[in-house]
Symmetry: C7
Subunit: 243 residues, 7 copies
C-alpha cells in the first residue's frame, strides 16, 4: 500500500506500473465511471434487459438526447456509464465490427466476439502512451442462437459475463438489490422490473418514466427493442420498490 | 474533491485522469467557452432560431466580421461561443461532412448525424496527446423531413438536444430566462424574440440590432436564412425585455 | 485572475488551457506582435491603403529590405507587424493559396477566403503540440468585384474586418488617431494621409519618406500598387500631423 | 542495493536501466502478476495439465467468463496470471502465430516456437519507449510429436520449461507443494490432482469445482480438452488436500 | 524585462514564447554567431566583396580548410560567422536551391530569391520543436542583371540588404568602421580595402594575408572570384589601417 | 569524476553525454551483464569452445530451457551473459543476418562480419532515443576457412577478438583463471576443460554437468556441436579444479 | 561564463543553446574523444600516414581487434579516437558514400568530398533531437590526383585540413611534438617515425609494435597500405624518442 505522494509518482500515464504492480490511470478511469449515472443489465431465460438512469440538466433539454443505451446490431444493444463521448466512441467501434463481420462472413457476430473486439480496443489505450484510458464501462447485451448473453466491459479492457449487473454511480446499492432479488426464473417483464428496481435503489426519489431508458433483446425475436415510454410508465405504476 | 496543488498534478494535458476521474483540461476548455459572448438557440414548431451576441472592439471594426453564426448546409446553421478560431475549424469539419454526405449518398445529411460527426472530432482531441481540446461550444440547428432539431456540443465531445438553450458567457442568466419564458407553442417570430430576450438577459444595456446576429431554419422552407438587420431592429423596437 | 507562479504552470505550450480557459502562449505571441513596429490599414470607397513603419538599424542598411508590405496577388497586399520571418512564412501561405485558386478554378481568390486560409494555418499552430504560435499580426487588403476589403489576423487565428485599423507597436495611439480622424468619405489620397498620420501618432520624431512603406489597391484598377517614395515625400510635405 | 528515493529515479519507464543494471518497470510488472490469482501447470508422461484459480466478484457473475485458460491451437493451451486484458492480448498473439504457421507451412507450430513468438513480443515492450511491459505471466502447455511440453513466460520476455510450475498469487506455496509432491511417473489424472492440490495450497478454504478451471492436452490425442465441471467435482471429492 | 530565473523558464526550446514575446533560443543562437570570427560584406557599383577573418589553431593546420567563404553559384558567394558546421549545412541548402532553379527554369537564380530560400529554411528551425535554431549568420553576395546585391541572414530567419555590413565577433567595431569609411563611389578594389579595414578594426594585431579570405563578384563578369593570396598581400602592403 | 547527484543528471537515457564524456546508460547496461551468470569462450588451434553457467531456480525446472548457448549458423554459435530476453533478440538478429548472406550471396557469412552486424544493431540502441541499450554481452564463436574465431560484444556496441575470454558474473575470477592457464597449444578437449575450469573458478561449489552448457565448432568439421551431457560428466569427473 | 548549476540547465540535449551560445552536449562529446587513446596523422610529399595507439585489456585479447584504423576506399583510410562503436558507424557512412560515388559517377571520391559527407552526417546529430552527438573524432587520410590530403573531423561536424595532427587522449603532448618536429620535407618513412614519436610523447613507457597500428597512402600508388608489424618493429628499433 502506498501513500499519496508515492502514488503521485506513478499515476501520470498508462505506460508505467506502480511498484506494487498497479496501473493508477486505469483505476482513475474507473472513478470516471462512478461519476456517471448508473446502468443495469438483467439476463432472463426470455431475453436480456438493459436499463439506464439519465440525468437531465434542464426541463428544456430533450431527455432522449441523453443517450445511454445504443443499438449496435439487430440483436445487440449497449448500455454505458461514465464519460459520454468515450461511450459513443466505443459504440462506434462495436457497430463497425458488427458490420464488418456481416460483410466479410455473411454472419451475425456473436455477442462475445463483439464484446472482445471492444475490450481489445480498450486494452490498447491502457498500454501504449500518448492517450488516456476510456473513462467508461459498458453492458453489452444480446441474443445469439436463442441464448441470451450479458457482458460487462471495464476500463482495463477486461470483460465479465453476468446474470445481472450494475455499473456506474450507485453500483454498490444496485448490485446489492440485484443479488437480493434476482431469480433465474423471471420472465422478460420481470427482468425489466428488476432492472428498474436496481436503478431505483440508488436514489431517494421515485423513479419516473422520464428518468430511465430501457431496451430488451427477447429470445424469440433476437431483435433489439427500445421499451416505449408508455410501457415504462405502466410498469412503474404497477411496481412499488421498497428501499 | 481535490485542493489546488493536487489539481495541478493532473491538469496539464488530455491524456490523464485525476484520481477522482476528472479530465481537467476539458473542464478548462469549458472555461474558455464561458469567456466568449453568449449564443442562444430556440426550437419552435415552425423552425429553429439561433442568435448570438457579438462584441465589437472599436467603432471602426466591421460588426459583420465578428461572425458567430455560420451556415453549414442548406438546412443547417451553427452558432458558437468561445474560442473563435476553434469554432471556425469545427464549422469547416461540419461543412466538409455535409458535402461528403451529399456527394457519396446524394442525400442531405441529418442534423443529428452532422452533430455527431462534430462531437466525434471533438472527442478525439480529449483522449489523444499532442493537442488541446476545442475551447468552444456549438449550437447546431436545422430542419430535416419537416422536423426542427437543435443540438448543443460541448468541449468533452458530448451532444445534447434542446428545446431552447444558451451557451457561453452569461449562460446561467440566459438559460433561466429561457426556462421561464419558453413555450412549445410559440411561432418562429416568437422564437426570435425569445432568443433575443435571453441574450438581453445577460446585459444591463439595451440590446441593439448591431449587437446581435440571428438566423433561422423555417420548417416550410427547410432553408437557412440570416435575419436581416432591419428585421432585427423592428423586432427589438416592438419588444421591451423586462429583466 | 492568476498570479505569476500559477500562470507559469500553464504557459509552456499551445496544448494546454489555463484553469480560467486561457492560452498563454497565444497571448505571449501577441506580445511579440507589439514588439514589432506598427502597421496601419485604411479602407476608403476608392480603395484600400496599407502602410508600415520600418526601422533601420544602420545608414548602410537598404531600407527597402526591411519589407513589411508584400504583394500577395494582383489585387491583394499584406502588411505585417511582429516576427519578420513568421510574417514571410504566412505571406508565402497566402501566395500559394491565391495561385492554387487561380490554377484550379481559373478565378481570382476573394480577400475573405484568402484571409481565412491564413487564419486556418495560424489556428493549427495554436492547438497542436510541437510548434509555437505565429508571432505576427497581418493586415490583408484588397479589392474584389469593386469592393475594397481590409482584414486583420491575430496570433489566435481569428480575423476581423475593419474600416481602419492599426497593429503592432504603438497600436493604441495609432488606433485612437484613426478613430478620431476616420471618415467614410475620404478618397484614396486621404486614406494614405490618414494611415501616415496614424503611424506618425506613435512617434515623437517627424516621419520621413524613408521611415514608411505604403501600398494601395484602388477600386478602379483592382491592382496592387506600391506608393513611390517621391509621392510619399510629397504627401508628407503637404501634411503636418498634430500630435 | 538502492534506497527508495534512488529507485524512484529509474523506475518510470522501460527505457532506462538503474545504476545496478535493473529494469524496475519489468520488476513492477512482476508484481502485477502476483496480484492475480494463481495458475499451475503439470507435465506428465501422458500429457500436460494447466489449472487456474478464478475469483468471482458476485454470485451473479458467470464463472465461465473469468477466463484464465485459453485454447490457442488444437494441441496447445495457455493459462495466465496477472492483468487479464494483457493476457488476452498475448493469447491473440499466440493464436495468430499458430494460424500463420499452419497457413504458410501447412504445419502445426511447435510449442517452443509458439512460446518464443510470445516472449519476443513481450521483450519488445521492455526495451522500446511509449508503452509499458505486459503485466502477466503465462503457462504455455501442449504436445508435439508425442512429447508433452510446458513453458512459463515472464514479463521480461524470458521463457523457462518446467515439469511443474505455479505462477501468480501464492506462487511460493503452490510451487513448494509441487516440489514436494511431483513425481515423473504420475498419470494425467494424477497431474490434475497435483495441480488442484497446488492451487488449494494457497488458500485456507476448501477448493470447489466453481473455483477452478482445468484443461489438458493428452499425449494420445494431442488435442486440447477443457476438463468438465463434473469431472472436477469428482476429483475434488476423492481427494482431500492436507495443508 | 525579466530576471534570470524567469528567463530560464522560457529558454529551453524554440516552441515557446516568453511572456514578453521573445524567443530566447533564437537570441542564444545570435550569441553563437558572436562567438565566431567576423565576416564583412561591401557592395560597390563595380561588384560585391565578401571577406572573412579565419582563426587558425596551429601552424600545422591548413588555413584554406578554415573555410568561411563559399561559392554557391556562378554569380553568388556566401560568407559566414558562427557555428561552422551549421554554415556548411545552409550553404548546401543554397547550392541545391540554385541548381534546382537552373534545372527547372533554365535560369540563374536571383540573389534575393536564393537568400529567401535560406531564411525560409532557418525560420522552420525557429518554430517547430525537435531541433535547435541555426547558430550562424550569413552574407549572401552576388550580381544579377548587372546589379550587385548583398544580403545578411540572421538566426531568426530574417534577411536584410546592405551596402556594407559586418557579422560575427567584433561586429560593432567593424560596422562602425564601415559606417565611417563607406562611400557609394568606391571601386571594387576600394571595396576589398574597406572590407579588410573593417576586419582589421576588430584586432590589435596587424592583419596578414594568412588571416583573411576574400572573394568578389564583379559586375562586368557576374562571376564569383576568390581573391588570390598574392593579391591580398599586395593590398595589405599598400594599405595601413589606422585604428 | 562526478558525485552521485551529478551523475543522476545525465543517466536517464542514451541520448546524453555526461560532462566528462560518459554514457551512463551504457555503463548501467554493463551492470546488467554482471548480474547474469558467467559464460566463457576459448579458442584453440582445433576449434572454438563456448561454455555457460546456468542457474536453475527449482528442481522442477528443465535445465535445458535456461538456454545461454545458441547455434546461429552451421559454423557459428553464440553464448550470452546478462538479460536473457535481450540475448535472444540479438541471436535472432544474427540468425537473420546469416540467412540473408546465404540467400543473397550464396556464401557462408564470416564470423567477423556476423559479429559486426550484431554490434551495429547494439550501437543504434546507444545513440538514438526511445529505447534502452541491450543489457547483454555475447561471445560469437565460429570457424571460417579453417580458422577459429572468437569475438566478444559489449553493450556499447564494441567488439573484441580473444584467445580466451569470460563475460558476465564472476568475470574477473574467470578471466584470471584463463590468463593463468591458457596455452595456444591446447587441443579442443583441453579448451573445453579450460572453459569449465574458468566457470568453476567463480563458485565455491563443485561444478556438475547439470550446471553447464558447452558447445564447440571444431576446425575439421566447421560445424557447431553441442557437447552432450555425458561427455561433460566424463570431463568433469576427470578434472578436478584447484581454486 | 556560466557556473555549474547554470550549465546544467542547458546541457541535456543537442537541441538547445546555452545563453552564451554554446552547445554543451557537443562539448561533452569532445570529452568522450579525449577519453580514447590517441591517433596521429602526418602528411608528407610522398603520402599520408595515420597511426593509432591501441590499448589492450588482457594478454588474451587479439590486438588486431582493437581496430582504430580502417580502410575506407582504395585510396583513403580513417583513424579514430573516442567511442569505438560510434567510429565504426561513421566509417560505414564513409564507405557507403565512397561506393555510391563509384557506382553513380564511375569516379573515385575526393578525400575532401568524403570528409564532408561524414561531417554532414555528424552535424545532423548536433541539431536534431532524439539522438546524441557522435563521441568520436576522425582523421581522414588519402591521396587524390597525386596530392596527399589529411582531414580531421570533430563532434560538432566541423572539418579541418592538417599537415600533421593528433586527436584523442594526450592530444596536447602529441600535437606539441608534431609542431616541434614536423618538416615539410620529410619522406613517408620519416612521416611514420614522426607519427610514432607523437604517440610515444603521450606515454612514459616505451612504445612497442604491439601498441600501435599504422597505415599509409603513398602518392605513387595512391593505395591504402597497413604497415606490417615487422616494419613497425624495425622502425621502433631504429628510433629512440626523447621525451
Amino acid at each position: 500500500m502506498q501513500n499519496q505522494s508515492q502514488q503521485q509518482a506513478y499515476d501520470r500515464g498508462t505506460t508505467i506500473f506502480s511498484p506494487d504492480g498497479r496501473l493508477y490511470q486505469v483505476e482513475y478511469a474507473r472513478e470516471a465511471v462512478k461519476r456517471g449515472t448508473g446502468s443495469v443489465g438483467v439476463r432472463t431465460p426470455d431475453g436480456v434487459v438493459i436499463a439506464a438512469n439519465r440525468s437531465v440538466r434542464s426541463p428544456l433539454m430533450e431527455q432522449s438526447s441523453v443517450e445511454k443505451i445504443h443499438q449496435v446490431d439487430d440483436h445487440v444493444g449497449i448500455a454505458s456509464a461514465g464519460h459520454v463521448a468515450d461511450a459513443r466512441k466505443l459504440v462506434d467501434v462495436a457497430r463497425r465490427r458488427a458490420q464488418t463481420e456481416q460483410l466479410r462472413y455473411g454472419e451475425t457476430i456473436s455477442v462475445e466476439t463483439l464484446t472482445r473486439s471492444v475490450t481489445d480496443h480498450i486494452q490498447e489505450y491502457t498500454q501504449t502512451g500518448g492517450a488516456r484510458p476510456f473513462g467508461v464501462a459498458l453492458l453489452v447485451a444480446g441474443v445469439e442462437h436463442g441464448e441470451p448473453r450479458l457482458f460487462e466491459t471495464d476500463p482495463s479492457g477486461t470483460d465479465y459475463e453476468w446474470q445481472a449487473v450494475a455499473i456506474g454511480g450507485g453500483r454498490e446499492d444496485s448490485q446489492a438489490y440485484l443479488e437480493e432479488n434476482y431469480s433465474q426464473e423471471i420472465d422478460l417483464d420481470g427482468g425489466i422490473e428488476l432492472a428498474l428496481g436496481a436503478l431505483a435503489a440508488t436514489s431517494e426519489d421515485d423513479l419516473t418514466a422520464d428518468d430511465v431508458e430501457v431496451a430488451t433483446v427477447p429470445v424469440d425475436t433476437e431483435t433489439y427493442e427500445a421499451v416505449p415510454r408508455d410501457d415504462l410508465e405502466g410498469i412503474l405504476d404497477e411496481v412499488s420498490f421498497d428501499e
